[in-house]
């Protein structure tokens, strides 16, 4: 006991760190791998810049992204308007900057909803197996049997085209991927002896699923999520372009591209800059996703 007290006097924080040394070492190793993977670093930088722009949008531009200024329509890029102006005289730069907030919001909500539904369905199906598995997986197959964009379009068209419904529609199309992944992992994990050992201790199914199966099944889902964030943006932009997503004057990138498409030949800047923004961010997420997959791959780790 006296020894314990002696340790306690060293300071709780120090003790905390000491005990968690293996975890900290593990994180250090992860960070090292991260640094040594060039493409993952590039992806990380792009995503950080994207986040930064979304957070500090008002500081980066002095123009209101939705205020019309019909005297200054269709101005080419200049020092006044970096990306030029559109047919209503709105500053394209400012619209692209503020658009990052819209995209970020879409990604955030879609990730939470689709990963939530997907892992829940997948883990329940995989853990219980049998009839539960069959029913849940056939429902998943029904969703998978439709082309994604068409299904998302059908959802938004029936719910009414606006940003919230776009998010709901993309989430409902996207969850199947995570459900399949989580199910495959859950099936693998549930037959492990340590899960039976925990059952032998008297744990409830819900406890086993939440605290033991879920943490072991989540990493491929996270990797897939990062890889799919690009796709989420593309789907949102696609819906926006088709007029089914965010409604004007919300500066959603796909919608901006759509706004400028009739001016594409003469006033190329209206579509080009938001298009580039989409491309760069999608690329960034894909690089990051690939990097995370490599870093988490146990065969490459040590």
């Amino acid at each position: 006991m006296s020894e314990v007290k002696g340790v306690a006097q060293k300071g709780r924080f120090k003790l905390f760190l000491e005990r968690r040394k293996p975890i900290i070492e593990d994180w250090k190793h992860t960070f090292y791998l991260w640094k040594s993977t060039t493409l993952a670093m590039v992806g990380t930088v792009i995503i950080f810049v994207f986040f930064g722009i979304a957070i500090f949008a008002p500081l980066l531009t002095s123009y209101d992204p939705i205020a019309q200024d019909l005297d200054n329509r269709l101005l080419p890029p200049s020092s006044q308007h970096l990306f030029g102006t559109d047919q209503y005289g709105r500053d394209v730069f400012s619209r692209v900057i503020y658009g990052s907030r819209v995209e970020l919001w879409i990604i955030f909500i879609v990730s939470i909803i689709s990963v939530g539904i997907g892992t829940l369905v997948g883990i329940i199906a995989g853990y219980f197996g049998g009839a539960v598995d069959e029913v849940l997986m056939r429902i998943t197959d029904m969703f998978l049997a439709f082309p994604r964009l068409v299904l998302a379009m059908a959802f938004t068209a029936s719910l009414g085209p606006n940003l919230t419904n776009t998010i709901i529609a993309i989430s409902f199309v996207d969850w199947t991927v995570y459900a399949r992944l989580a199910r495959a992992e859950a099936i693998k994990v549930k037959s492990q002896p340590y899960i039976e050992a925990i059952r032998g201790l008297g744990a409830k199914n819900t406890r086993i699923m939440a605290f033991h199966v879920l943490p072991m099944s989540i990493s491929p889902v996270i990797v897939q999520l990062t890889l799919r964030m690009g796709t989420i943006i593309l789907t949102a932009a696609g819906l926006g372009f088709l007029g089914l997503g965010a409604q004007p004057p919300i500066p959603e990138w796909g919608a901006i591209v759509s706004d400028g498409r009739s001016y594409l030949v003469q006033q190329w800047w209206i579509t080009t800059f938001p298009g580039l923004a989409i491309a760069i961010v999608v690329l960034g997420f894909n690089l990051l996703g690939d990097g995370i997959r490599d870093i988490l791959d146990p065969r490459l780790r040590r």
Binding site: P22, P193, Y194, E196, A197, R199, L201, A203, R207, H212
Partner: protein, 327 residues
């Protein structure tokens, strides 16, 4: 050891059966692997009840079925007065505190992403309302009991050797203060030198915690060291049952005799007895008719292949399932 008259029993197993259905083809009817086929025995309190048999004899299935980790096909399992089979899932979860298992494979039986503290503390969190300090103290105490130290609490399973992992698995079971522990080949994955240390520890823990063991193994030397009673299993059935001395000194079943005969003796001066070739264990899907052992038995006669022998008592407390017991 208690005398015969006052022997108290902890576990009563009656006519226990566990059949696993095999994959059914489109045109064939379902077949069953008879892993445990009509097994009955009683385990005396505070004893070590050994179960030996070759791989495929159903001993692991037996251990897991008694704890209802797999549902039995039929038969009853009683724990003193409680019928374990009739417990509903909630009652069973609560009851699990009293009976724990230590499995064969220490490399896969511990959650790879959890700290030892949480692996051992899990059962406490499930069964008791304790503060994290209380859990910490209990985990620390039990770790010391199994020969590990406080600092091991904050490590992951992969940082330990096989023997240490098996100690952690034992600690996880014992922290709940169970009365009955199934040890399913707890040392078969360990080095021989580590085996001895773990077996010694298990013996000491049995005394300190007044435990009852069901000790499953294929290693007769281990059974000789650990067990008070020995059950010999073959193709899902009990062939012979008795005290350790009955089995080792006066085996009555030809199978037991052959098993004992197959132990290599390190003394070169002892003349090797004639070794009788035994062949492979038959499939438990279509076990032989009559006595299950007749296909490999050197003493088999006509009756053995047709009539299943009854369990008979050759002398007090020593049972054998054979038409022509030895000795």
């Amino acid at each position: 050891m208690q005398t015969e008259v006052t022997t108290q029993y902890l576990i009563h197993v009656k006519h226990l059966k566990k059949y696993f259905p095999t994959k059914r083809g489109l045109f064939s009817s379902a077949k069953y692997v008879k892993a445990v086929d009509d097994v009955s025995f009683d385990i005396p309190k505070n004893s070590t009840f050994g179960v030996v048999g070759e791989s495929g004899s159903g001993k692991t299935t037996l251990g897991r079925t008694i704890l209802r980790l797999i549902e039995p096909t039929s038969g009853t399992i009683r724990y003193i007065e409680t019928d374990i089979n009739s417990l509903n899932s909630k009652e069973l979860r609560i009851f699990r505190r009293k009976m724990q298992i230590v499995s064969q494979d220490p490399y896969n039986s511990l959650h790879p992403r959890k700290l030892v503290k949480n692996i051992i503390g899990e059962g406490l969190k499930i069964h008791f309302q304790l503060s994290s300090e209380e859990i910490y103290e209990k985990v620390k105490d039990i770790l010391e009991q199994v020969g590990l130290r406080e600092e091991h609490m904050f490590r992951y399973p992969h940082e330990f050797s096989g023997g240490q992992r098996q100690r952690i698995a034992v600690a996880r079971a014992l922290v709940l203060k169970p009365e009955f522990l199934v040890l399913d080949e707890p040392t078969s994955a360990l080095d021989v030198s580590v085996q001895a240390v773990i077996l010694k520890m298990l013996k000491d823990l049995k005394r300190d915690f007044s435990l009852t063991y069901l000790f499953i193994t294929h290693d007769l030397a281990v059974i000789d060291y650990m067990a008070d009673y020995v059950t010999v299993m073959y193709l899902g059935q009990i062939m012979e049952f008795g005290t350790k001395d009955d089995i080792f000194l006066a085996p009555a079943h030809p199978y037991t005799f052959l098993l004992l005969n197959s132990i290599p003796n390190p003394d070169p001066r002892i003349k090797k007895k004639k070794v009788i070739p035994m062949g492979e264990i038959p499939s438990p899907i279509d076990p032989p008719t009559g006595c299950r052992f007749h296909t490999r038995c050197p003493y088999a006669r006509d009756i053995c292949s047709n009539v299943e022998p009854e369990m008979k008592e050759v002398h007090k407390g020593h049972f054998v399932k054979c038409h022509f017991p030895l000795g």
